[in-house]
Symmetry: C2
Subunit: 481 residues, 2 copies
């Protein structure tokens, strides 16, 4: 039993060894280039050593799982990555491409020609080819198409026809199906004739002659049943199943709630067209989590940490541009009250507090609502109650935190009226934040947009400009003459 299995933590170490090896190699090569007056023999020795290292590395790579090779490639800077990618055996190429992150996949595909790319997909299922297809050049996709048989072409067409967030885009076609009128013994004999079962086969699909699903037969049931029992008597006739047009998010929730491993996908007539496995669902959950994190951090797509400065600029630009606009608007709001600030300069020091705390309250409300929307926990009838509850919370928080700030303000500036304006402004901005914190995600959901994306930017823009306006406006009304 090798240690490697106990931890994937060893991969970074392996990647580091590879980097050090290639670094030394390059140093030696530079030395050789500089001293080309050296006797040829020395040169030859170096080349041999190089080849030896690379072939040992190549053997090492072959012993690894495609997912591990993918991870090592992600861990290497571009130059080293391409050296290692060349060493990966061609029959692994497809699996590795499937496993690497989008950014790294792009760099690998760029380094391959059409012929290599077509060859790389030979070992893949049609659902896997469909996953890669959007990243491949057109002529490669056409080349792959020619290598498929008619049934596979049809599967590829189906897999490519569903949008990314539908169940259809995440299904595969590796089903084992049986008839309901055969016995357990016949099924067992049938299975033994197959050389192997597809990954994640936890159940057989029971279909009639027209491929309508009649039920499913879990392997766990099959294994504990008497040999002469008929499939129809022990199958689950009412299993969890999905439509290819259903939302992948909903399927993920069902897999989580009902602890599914695989489930049939049926068309509108109840014909079995594919299956979804928990592996596809786990990938989907992780991908969504990633998208959400990136968007909240102000990045468009994931970034290869070895990406060029130029690629990073393109990735981060849009959010900075958006931020520039919202910041300019807030700045113009302040500009409206320059007269007030000139008269009472303390306003300039206090106004960011009002804006910042409003943003905090708004983000809290939005997080809670987005979560409730995601779990379907919000009914129309609750929304009114939510406004009432959040308003109450904003009022209590406003009076409490606003009161604290009023006190601090009084201690700093010895101005009771300024403290009062502070408290009132904080409370009003909290109310604005609470109202918009409910409204923004509810509206986005109603217009079928993902309420999690972009809501935070919007609420912060509103509580900033709103906070400045409320605070400086109140100050103008009550403090100035």
């Amino acid at each position: 039993m090798s240690d490697e299995n106990l931890s994937t933590e060893r991969l970074p170490e392996l990647a580091k060894e590879i980097r050090d090896l290639l670094e030394r190699q390059r140093l030696v090569e530079q030395l050789v280039l500089k001293q080309d007056s050296l006797p040829e023999r020395h040169d030859l020795v170096e080349t041999l050593v190089h080849k030896q290292h690379l072939s040992r590395l190549s053997a090492k790579l072959e012993s690894l799982h495609a997912a591990d090779i993918a991870r090592i490639l992600e861990l290497l800077p571009l130059q080293d990555r391409l050296v290692v990618w060349d060493l990966v055996k061609a029959h692994m190429d497809g699996d590795v491409l499937l496993e690497v992150s989008d950014a790294v996949r792009e760099s690998l595909i760029d380094a391959m020609d059409t012929h290599e790319l077509v060859a790389a997909t030979e070992q893949l299922g049609t659902d896997e080819i469909a996953d890669l297809a959007p990243d491949l050049p057109d002529e490669v996709v056409q080349g792959i198409y020619k290598t498929l048989n008619p049934e596979e072409r049809e599967q590829l067409r189906i897999a490519l026809s569903y949008p990314e967030d539908s169940v259809g885009a995440h299904m595969d076609f590796e089903m084992v199906s049986v008839r309901e009128d055969v016995t357990v013994e016949v099924v067992l004999r049938y299975l033994r004739r197959l050389r192997e079962l597809p990954d994640h086969t936890d159940k057989l699909f029971v279909v009639d002659r027209e491929e309508h699903l009649r039920g499913v037969l879990p392997l766990n049931t099959l294994l504990v049943s008497d040999l002469d029992t008929e499939v129809g008597a022990i199958m689950d006739a009412d299993p969890k199943r999905f439509s290819p047009d259903g939302e992948a998010r909903e399927a993920a929730e069902a897999f989580e709630r009902y602890d599914l491993i695989s489930a049939p996908v049926l068309d509108a007539d109840g014909v079995l067209i594919g299956r979804v496995t928990v592996a596809a669902i786990v990938d989907f959950i992780k991908d969504r989590q990633d998208i959400e994190r990136l968007s909240q951090g102000g990045l468009r797509v994931e970034e290869d940490i070895f990406a060029s400065v130029w690629n990073s600029l393109k990735n981060r630009g849009p959010w900075l541009g958006l931020n520039l606009i919202t910041a300019l608007i807030a700045s113009r709001v302040i500009g409206l009250f320059e007269g007030a600030i000139e008269q009472l300069v303390a306003l300039a020091a206090l106004m960011p507090i009002v804006a910042g705390m409003g943003g905090n309250i708004g983000n809290q409300t939005i997080t809670m609502i987005v979560r409730a929307l995601a779990t379907g926990q919000l009914h129309e009838q609750d929304i009114r109650n939510l406004y009432i509850k959040e308003t109450k919370l904003a009022l209590i928080n406003g009076v409490f935190w606003g009161g604290m700030l009023a006190l601090v303000t009084f201690l700093l500036y010895r101005d009771a009226a300024l403290g009062g304006v502070m408290m009132l402004a904080v409370t009003l901005n909290f109310l604005l934040a609470a109202a918009m914190g409910v409204t923004i995600p509810v509206m986005r959901a109603r217009f079928k947009r993902d309420p999690a994306l972009g809501s935070s930017v919007l609420i912060t823009a509103i509580t900033d400009s709103g906070g400045f306006f409320i605070f400086l406006g109140l100050a103008t009304l009550f403090l100035l003459h």
Copy 2:
């Protein structure tokens, strides 16, 4: 085939029906209370209708999966929730408690007495009891302990002994194991003698007499092998396996990368002590995702949307308090420069732009680094390169966006020097943001803290105060006399 299986979307509708039903019921009861002068017969009729409704509801609930009942309970306001909870059959109580969210679980447990709670756990495995235990009153846990046999007590002790983020806390004990010197036929006969197999049994564990793991036998291999083959000849002798002290996060990554359904957990001597299933891993991934989302939104724990205002206040208070402190610090930084603002009031309008855009850059950098840290993509040797790359990015972005802002500033205020200060301040704050954006998560990771939590608050605090200081300081140096 009922429609219910096609979509979990019907649950919110069902919850709404229940709420409407209970609402009507309460209206009728109020009516009856008010008009207690009515003939007794009418009263009786109403009571009968009520009972009929509730018993129909009870029957409906019994046909649902525990996870679905849990979801309906989450969808109901407290009052209705407790009515429905009373209708749930006692033998389902434990499974439902396992499935509901933490906040709702608390409200259900509060409504039960010790006897009911002990009874509720009767159908649960020891790993499931361990999941519930932290939420149960002490006397209940002691009561449960008394109902267990010595082996179960030992399992419960083991399950409770591992910290939440270790593999041990997520394992269960439902393994089927076989010896390596028996034939496939014997194994199949042995399995048929069991009444059922545990959920998520995709492989049998092959152990010796001392329970050392010798390998695993996937059901998929078992089913396609000849009846007279010995287990030892077809088992996987080097399967992915975990240590109970390993990090759950790492196990989750391995499950995702290698598409595992279940995997053995071994102690230091290689003795099989439990297994981890993909169901536990999916729950773990979702929980972590939740914690991250809540923390980023400034909430301590998940909030039942029907939670009392008081509970919400407690949940949201700490972040508001933290925000108050960071905002006050930023405010005092501005306070240092009140003289400058008095002389040139445009500074007050422009300073939030410098602070805000710095925060945006800082958050982008942090998101990227946290992600690279989470996937183990960062080596020591890369960190220096990262500083260089992020510094370059900050410089280019600073000159570009700072230049845009300088232009806008000039157009607004007709002051070229002010524009120049703006550009310089934006660039310097971007450099500060980039440096801290790398340093904060790297430091947190080095001190073994989760780099994802709290980093965003910290960077924003730094870029706010830093941005104000840099901008107002430069203005004082270059613009004032």
